[in-house]
Symmetry: C2
Subunit: 308 residues, 2 copies
């Protein structure tokens, strides 16, 4: 019980899984007993990155109760996206790059959030601040996180700091960013082994927009019709999910990683309002979101403002 | 409206006022139009520090509405301790050393909290990270904040980092810490020009402990009887405050800065519970808190746990 657990959000993505591994490694180097764990299944993109750099997926947990007295959150802070029982343990650190919401502590803590594209970009700085060298395989994981979160530096969330960190880490990891990055993104966009049901939960995050309990899920694809082709089945699954979880909105976004556009399907009592929030309408059950690729920067703030 | 406002909490103390001035100065040095403002009267201790190092008090505001579109919070994050209208503006940064509670944003931001004794200790690091030199008068302000928050390095909130920053800043400011620090603390503990009513609001902070709306106020004194001598008048004022503001608890703490102990007077429906939280009882209207000097580290967490 003396060790500190390090984990990212539910429905983990590459930044969440690799940042947990990398930050636990950093803590161990400065003499702190830390273990990376995960709150859900590892997706195909993350598997590709872990294999490439020789890592196993962290241990799976669902609740922190009985696991540790102290935890470190990476890549998230909102309690509904975190481990069950999060209110019962002491959060000693948060390393994140999202807005702050539905988060609180009793005690002072180390909270480091920066408005950059990726948690790994911040962790790369913390390595330097602590004078700890970044080994090649750890650099490879951080690079993978940056490529994933910034869609190979093309997302509007990508900052100069992410680009600089990416270049620096690619050198240490000895990989060609463009080639490796595209291969990794394509591995993640290969949805052939996924059912529509899988796709809805792959990267789904819960949000409270004003009074409305909402889920915003995002899937990357090379061809959005791979996902949206079976519209009726999709809508029926979304309707079921909304009913079962008492949601006011399920906002399901499919992002075209080659053209950097998105298409959304919205279900729930505020579905029309969610389309209007983007100056759009629901046409044939779809909302076109040209140029939108970032949930954090281009979707969540828009829905937060429109539904408050 | 393009400038960013920098401010600390209501009922400002030395760390809040000086951190606003110092951080606005740092921002200006890196090309950002920033103005320090304050949310309340400057206390005697802070006046002493400002005069010593040749600064005026920042401009007083109560609401941020119409003042700026973007703000930076120093030394606090809880909205009930912040400016009126805080929900209407964008918070771009928080530099703090408290717990996180009743705080949220729509967008990602720079949030830098560290569990150290003083905001100035963190800002001193940020100067270095940005390669900005600390002038002597700015160093003097930061030193004053550290002395104030750590009660001359004697509070349990004081960390090695605060001590190191204090030594470094004292050298730049060319002051004898022990001598200047005690003079500053005594200026703050000189309550002769204050009514009991003034003392209740001088350093009062609102908290929500579970369901209970609470205020924890703290006053430093050389002799606690200067404040607690008129017990009846004090209790009557506290009762009035509890009734007028619909409080469940007013926890009024007088801290003996020479002996590093505190005595509290608690009023409200959970007054007895608040004493019990410290393993104490209310005797003759007072709660003895030996060794307690830090609201943040020794009072708020105890009440949070006991009243949740």
């Amino acid at each position: 019980m003396n060790k500190v657990l390090v984990f990212g959000h539910k429905n983990p993505d590459t930044d969440t899984i690799t940042s947990a591994i990398v930050y636990a490694y950093l803590k161990q180097q400065i003499g702190i007993e830390a273990e990376a764990v995960r709150l859900g299944e590892v997706n195909n993109e993350t598997k590709f990155a872990l294999e490439k750099f020789g890592f196993e997926a962290p241990r799976l947990i669902s609740s922190v109760v009985g696991e540790a007295a102290q935890v470190i959150l990476v890549d998230h802070n909102e309690f509904q996206q975190s481990a069950d029982g999060i209110e019962e343990v002491q959060i000693t650190e948060v390393i994140d790059h999202h807005r702050v919401a539905n988060f609180q502590t009793s005690d002072p803590l180390y909270y480091r959030a920066e408005p950059v594209g990726c948690t790994a970009t911040i962790i790369n700085k913390i390595f330097k601040e602590n004078g700890v060298a970044v080994p090649a395989n750890i650099a490879g994981l951080m690079l993978s996180a940056i490529v994933s979160d910034t869609l190979l530096f093309k997302s509007p969330t990508c900052t100069e700091q992410d680009v600089k960190a990416g270049e620096e880490l690619a050198k240490i990891a000895e990989v060609d960013v463009a080639e490796y990055g595209l291969a990794m993104l394509k591995a993640g966009a290969d949805l052939s082994d996924k059912s529509l049901e899988d796709l809805l939960s792959l990267d789904a995050k819960e949000f409270q927009f004003g009074e409305y309990k909402s889920v915003v899920a995002q899937v990357n694809a090379v061809d959005v019709n791979d996902v949206l082709g079976r519209q009726e089945e999709l809508e029926s699954l979304l309707n079921k999910n909304v009913a079962e979880n008492g949601l006011d909105l399920f906002f399901f976004v499919v992002t075209d990683i080659l053209n950097n556009d998105s298409t959304a399907v919205a279900i729930g009592q505020v579905a029309d309002a969610s389309a209007k929030a983007f100056g759009a309408e629901i046409v044939n059950g779809r909302i076109q979101l040209p140029g939108v690729v970032s949930r954090k920067k281009q979707i969540v703030p828009v829905l937060t403002d429109a539904l408050k």
